[in-house]
């Protein structure tokens, strides 16, 4: 089994525009998706992220704020997933019911295997 990090991307505050009915459906559908993968032992971790936070970088000898993205895109959550290979990870990702809402993008990235570290 290989490890994958799935970065869930969206515009800022994606859920602000979903109706109460859609939010309830989100819990029911995405909730059971995560639950099933967790019970199968494939989902090692799945967390939403707060919309706030800081971007730090190094400039002219000191750590500074920014630079921030020009776009409003933000990483709003992540999955840490186990799969046979990239194809299987993608196949699993495609089943995430959140896509039906049309507001999410998911980036599937294999976690690099480094000898002696993981």
């Amino acid at each position: 089994m290989k490890e994958f990090l799935l970065l869930i991307r969206s515009e800022e505050e994606p859920k602000a525009h979903l109706s109460p009915e859609q939010l309830q459906q989100h819990i029911e559908k995405v909730g059971s998706f995560i639950k099933r993968l967790t019970e199968e032992g494939r989902m090692k971790s799945a967390q939403p992220l707060e919309m706030e936070g800081r971007m730090l970088s190094y400039k002219d000898g000191k750590i500074v704020d920014g630079p921030y993205n020009e776009t409003k895109e933000i990483i709003s959550g992540y999955y840490h997933l186990l799969a046979k290979d990239l194809d299987e990870a993608i196949a699993i990702t495609k089943k995430d019911p959140r896509f039906q809402e049309g507001i999410w993008r998911v980036e599937v990235r294999p976690i690099k295997k480094v000898e002696g570290i993981n």
Binding site: K15, A16, H17, L18, S19, P20, E21, Q22, L23, Q24, H26, I27, E28, V30, G31, S32, I34, K35, R36, E39, E40, A46, Q47, P48
Partner: protein
Amino acid sequence: MNKPEEKQSHQLAEHFFRTEYGRLVSVITRYLGTANVQTAEDIVQETLSKAVDHWQQHGIPPNPQAWLYTTAKNHTLNILKRKSVHRNFEASSRTLTDKSAEWEDFEPTSATLSDNQLKMMFVCCHPALSENSQIALILKILCGFSIAEIAHAFFSSHETINKRLVRGRRQLRENKVAFEIPPDLDQRITIVLKTIYLLFNEGYFPSQKNSLIRYDLCLEAIRLVQLLLAGPITENKADCHALLALMYLNASRFEARMEEGGLGMDMEKQDRKKWDQDLIQSGIRQLQWAMRAGKSSNFLILATISAHHCIAPNFEATDWPAILALYDQLIVLENSPLVHLNRSVALSKAEGNQKAIAELLQLESRTDIGKHYLFHATLGELYGDENEREKAIGCFEKAIALAGNQRDIALLKKKLMQFVPIR
């Protein structure tokens, strides 16, 4: 294989979020004041959003309602402390500390929740607001529909609905509308009932594409009147029962009116076995309650007409003379061209198409009913029944030119096709 369904012990009731949205906004508005209703809406949206984050990871808690109220409460208290809404509190004599303390003691019982929703209903139907704003506010605030969903149900745009909401909220603020059961109840209940009936009718028009959400509008309208009847209000109960009767009886035919392709089906062609007998029984019971007051009203007459349709074994056996007599009574209360138009259908069945056609032509000459597509559609049907093909075609073409939305146009075109010879 794992079967997650079996382990998931807690599930949300159908429309749980939507219902709780309306309750929560009402409760919070009670503390923030009607000038801050938008803040209350934002707090609730954020609360539900938080619930999504938590519950999709950890499952639904044993008492989801309590979870929502605690989260919303903390959020509101923070806002109260932050002074961000202070300037809108002047109208109230009570201090913020009082409000906070009161809020902290709040427990969501069904009695307090109903009480707050009832008050919210009167707020949304404040006479200073336009009918359009009243309906939009009721749907957004009390029924928990999103702007997109309301626009979808009304064949309208996001911008239009949002404008109505913005204008409505501004009028609440400018008129310093109190969160209370109003003192001039008699008048105010009449407005509330009228708005609820408009809401019901919006939902009642058939359409395949969004029939589900539209049926939900009807159910919400019914729920709001049930809420009124269950409350402490004693005024105008007869009118509430009459409106509830009317909505139950009309809703009983909801499914039977749907045809493949989503167009509405005339009552004549409906399969009466599909009429919901439970709703008809509930409607008749409400009608009996309404009649006890011994006072006539528009809703009572309309409900009685609807009941006549519901209990007729078939279309031909409908008691048309009785329905015609009811329309005559209705005209005494509401002498409008639209009532005359509806009466003409009963007249055609009771006394013949020619008589109804003569009445309609006369109506057209003395009112501006000719601007309404329904007038030409009704006249077209009558001409069609009389085999006056050319006149029928002319009427339906006029109706199509006047009809406002695609749903009506599609239905009218289908009717027109019956009279156009196949080439």
